[in-house]
């Protein structure tokens, strides 16, 4: 058996490579990789763990039931509170108020929906804001132009 040495050499090399692969794989492949596909399964749960910032659709009514009731009968009923205000997470945490809710009183907020535009479907009332305010060419639109006439109640229950 003059070739025994060569066979042992090959076998040793094979074992060495296999050991390297198995040990290397253990350290290089992240935990949970491949459990549910070619990705790190734990990443899915990291996505789940993120905290929502918008509240549930009726969350505001828990405290502001009067405004919610008035709004429910108005034309702005399909518009969620957080569209015009800020997210619930900036106002309430664990059921406790942490800060005042920000109120956006700019005319731009109203214009997002109510500026008359080519291609805007007639689902909402539309005006050309400059025309509506009867502004002359160079005049800028005042910052809180809309809310000067359309007050809080008129907005919540138009």
């Amino acid at each position: 058996m003059e070739h025994t040495k060569h066979i042992w050499r090959a076998a040793f090399l094979l074992i060495a490579v296999l050991t390297f692969v198995i040990v290397g794989r253990h350290f290089l492949v992240p935990k949970s990789f491949g459990e549910a596909g070619y990705y790190r399964y734990d990443a899915l749960f990291e996505h789940m763990d993120k905290e929502p910032r918008h509240g549930a659709p009726d969350a505001c009514a828990d405290c502001h039931d009067d405004i919610a009731a008035a709004k429910a009968g108005g034309k702005h009923a399909p518009v969620k509170c957080e569209v015009c205000h800020d997210v619930l997470a900036s106002h309430v945490k664990d059921g406790e108020k942490v800060a005042d809710m920000r109120i956006n009183r700019s005319w731009e907020l109203c214009a997002y929906c109510h500026q008359r535009l080519v291609g805007r479907p007639a689902l909402v009332a539309q005006v050309d804001i400059r025309e509506h305010l009867e502004l002359s060419a160079g005049q800028a639109i005042p910052a809180e132009a809309c809310v000067q006439c359309h007050d809080k109640d008129a907005i919540h229950h138009p």
């Binding site: 290089l28 990789f33 491949g34 990705y39 731009e108």
Partner: protein, 266 residues
């Protein structure tokens, strides 16, 4: 300035480390790949493995998204809601609105100023516009997704309930997926330097809530459905209405369906 230099240096080091890990890991996963594939099927079909904070079984859901172009008023509430829900950096978008204006002679004008985040100003095309409409866009959460196929490190994946997600701890920021997405739905986050995209508000879905964009759409132009939920109204729309997907010729099999769309929309 100095700090910036440091950041850059460390991120390059991180990149190299992760690239080495990724490449090595990938080669080794390929070697021992048979095992992972077997267990993959076992978990996604059985759905018995529960981790995370809530009782949620991904195998019981299959989300789909319907956009009614006739109902979109281009207000941008969805874009702002997405930004606030997911802390999307300024001038980057996980969802955006495009305004299409088509002239009588067939020219198509498309604009999306700041993604529709700040609304739309009156049009200044000067052309004789014969039809115009707003088209909300987002990740199509394709069944046959190019971005996931392109990812060299397995950082992009399709969840068992059909949502395309990014593992930002694994992403090396190579941006192959950004280039590969035919819908332009991905971007490299300017701070984390990893790929970022619409997650279909996965953190909200698992809590039984709708996505921020759907919840804040004032006209119901955006709707979220679940084809594995019996009697789901949105799944019924897809089943019974004439729906359209973007770039059907690419066979990406999107799960976003457009109603009342037009041929100009790509």
């Amino acid at each position: 300035m100095c700090e910036r230099k440091d950041n850059k240096g460390s991120s390059r080091r991180d990149f190299l480390r992760m690239a080495a890990q990724g490449a090595g890991g990938m080669a080794l996963v390929m070697v021992g790949g048979g095992h992972s594939l077997v267990s993959a099927n076992a978990v996604s079909e059985g759905g018995s493995d529960r981790r995370g904070p809530m009782e949620y079984d991904p195998s019981k859901h299959r989300y789909l998204y319907v956009i009614d172009v006739d109902k979109c008023i281009g207000c941008g509430s969805c874009v702002r809601a997405c930004e606030r829900e997911n802390q999307v950096p300024r001038h980057f978008f996980r969802t955006w609105i495009e305004r299409y204006q088509v002239s009588r002679t067939g020219e198509v004008y498309v604009d999306s100023p700041n993604g529709g985040h700040d609304g739309f100003a009156p049009s200044e095309t000067g052309a004789d516009i014969s039809k115009a409409f707003f088209v909300p866009k987002l990740c199509n959460h394709c069944d046959n997704t190019p971005c996931v196929q392109l990812c060299p490190v397995g950082a992009s994946f399709v969840s068992p309930d059909g949502v395309v997600l990014v593992d930002d701890k694994r992403c090396i920021g190579c941006s192959y997926c950004v280039q590969g997405c035919p819908y332009g739905s991905r971007f490299i986050h300017p701070e984390t330097h990893t790929a970022s995209k619409c997650t279909l508000c996965y953190h909200r879905l698992v809590r039984g809530e709708s996505t921020a964009c759907v919840q804040n759409c004032p006209t119901g132009a955006r709707q979220l459905g679940d084809s594995r939920s019996l009697g789901d109204k949105v799944a019924e729309i897809v089943a019974t209405s004439k729906v359209h997907v973007l770039k059907p010729e690419l066979h990406t099999e999107p799960k976003c369906f457009y109603v009342n769309s037009s041929r100009e929309v790509r």
